[in-house]
């Protein structure tokens, strides 16, 4: 815990110092700055509430360097449950790591957990480097990333390569009926993204991503019911995941745009999925943009998923109670308003770059899960 706090503090301090220090050291005066704050409130059908405060500070320097610092604080509150410890109803939360049940006595009490996140990015045209840090009571995640891209064909075609490596330390809390042994998870990631201008009103992006995940990948607090008894969940410790996606942005008459997206995903656990989406943005006057959105998602189940395991060996030695590995489909509807106040506050003043946004989304799936997501944000460019 001390280590987590020290690392978080060090990340914060270094990020705050590095921005001005870097600018001073290389004599790089600040060109543009932008600060954006977003508040997000998530509540689902089980009354799990997730509150997120996120702040991002971006600064552009004279020789095209850009620095970015992101901070996030998230609180997850899981209400009292009317279910025995370790049961399927007593676990699962919005974060991947889930609710620990220490003993019978506190199984029915409201449980809260927090997550803190720091991101730091340094980029210049064609190149980007980043570091990510996230800590929870029982989960510490870190990641480094790099990205390179180049324009071709008179800036009508762009090719980008990206890679990242993440290493997570998992230290489960003491649990009455789960496993509390410390473990780890590592993720290597690579992508290639091609962007092509098709017409003065149309642009296309195609991307391929691949993930190699190793280490603990099941929930150490969750049990699986096997022939009337309880067994700790057990997933394979290696997973290779890949997806290909396509995005097409089309400008429409009357200052509107239509963004279409499609994604096909598969992994070596047997899960395949298809995602389709559309976003329609429309200017209302000069300063307000209203956006409507729909997303459809459909997936198959993992090879070792079952609603009813008959032996402790599960399927091929693995067993899961994670509904994310079952077959289901999901829908998401949403709307968002973005209001730039520049036309009201004038051009050039301190507050001229002020913008407000408000959004609401409704998510539901065929597993009888539904959630409401509310977002409010303010950004200031100066």
């Amino acid at each position: 815990m001390q280590l987590i706090r020290a690392s978080l503090l060090a990340g914060l301090v270094s990020a705050v110092i590095v921005v001005p220090a870097h600018a001073a050291l290389f004599d790089l005066p600040l060109q543009e700055q932008n600060d954006a704050y977003v508040f997000q409130f998530f509540s689902d059908v089980d009354d799990i509430r997730v509150t997120t405060h996120q702040n991002r500070y971006d600064v552009t320097l004279e020789n095209d360097f850009a620095l970015s610092l992101g901070l996030a604080h998230q609180t997850v509150v899981i209400p009292a449950v009317d279910a025995p410890p370790g049961s399927e109803d007593a676990v699962d939360a919005i974060t991947t790591a889930s609710r620990p049940i220490r003993d019978i006595g506190d199984a029915y009490e409201e449980y809260a957990r927090t997550r803190k996140e720091v991101q730091f990015d340094l980029s210049r045209p064609g190149l980007g480097l980043g570091y990510y840090f996230s800590s929870e009571e029982d989960y510490l995640a870190q990641m480094v990333r790099a990205q390179w891209d180049r324009d071709f064909a008179n800036e009508n075609f762009n090719l980008s390569f990206g890679a990242s490596y993440g290493w997570d330390a998992i230290d489960p809390l003491e649990d009455a009926d789960g496993s509390d042994a410390a473990d780890h998870r590592n993720t290597a990631y690579a992508n290639v993204v091609a962007t092509q201008v098709l017409t003065p009103s149309t642009v296309l992006r195609v991307g391929y991503e691949r993930f190699w995940v190793g280490g603990l990948q099941h929930n150490p607090y969750r049990n699986v019911y096997v022939a009337g008894g309880n067994e700790i969940e057990l997933h394979p410790d290696a997973r290779t995941r890949q997806d290909v996606y396509l995005r097409l942005n089309q400008y429409l008459p009357l200052r509107a745009s239509l963004k279409l997206e499609a994604k096909a995903y598969s992994d070596d656990w047997g899960v395949t999925s298809t995602t389709l989406g559309a976003r329609l943005s429309q200017y209302v006057g000069e300063s307000i943009v209203v956006r409507y959105r729909y997303r459809f998602y459909d997936q198959s189940s993992a090879d070792f998923y079952s609603d009813d395991y008959t032996t402790p060996g599960g399927i091929d030695g693995f067993r899961t109670a994670d509904y994310r590995l079952s077959a289901f489909d999901a829908h998401l509807f949403g709307t968002r308003i973005h209001w730039s106040l520049e036309s009201i506050l004038g051009d050039g003043g301190t507050w001229s770059g002020l913008a407000l946004q408000l959004g609401y989304e409704r998510y539901f799936n065929s597993n009888n899960f539904s959630a409401n997501i509310l977002e409010a944000g303010v950004s200031l460019g100066f």
């Binding site: 991947t96 980008s160 992508n191 992006r205 745009s257 994604k263 995903y265 995602t275």
Partner: protein, 71 residues
Amino acid sequence: MIRRRSTLLLLVAILLGGCATVKPYEKERLADPIMAFDAEAEEDARELHWIEAREGSTGGAGGAGGGCACN
């Protein structure tokens, strides 16, 4: 299957790159914020975080980047 699809899509994109004729002064619409791929990157990242806890797949948010080709 995914590998075949991605190879095909990348080939299509690369081939399309050879026939682009859009001039810089014709890109006013592409430069509008409502057309930017990255305009919703932060929002997509937040969404990916909660949606990964609800669905079995991942990715599709653009990953490490990619130019907008519309400057």
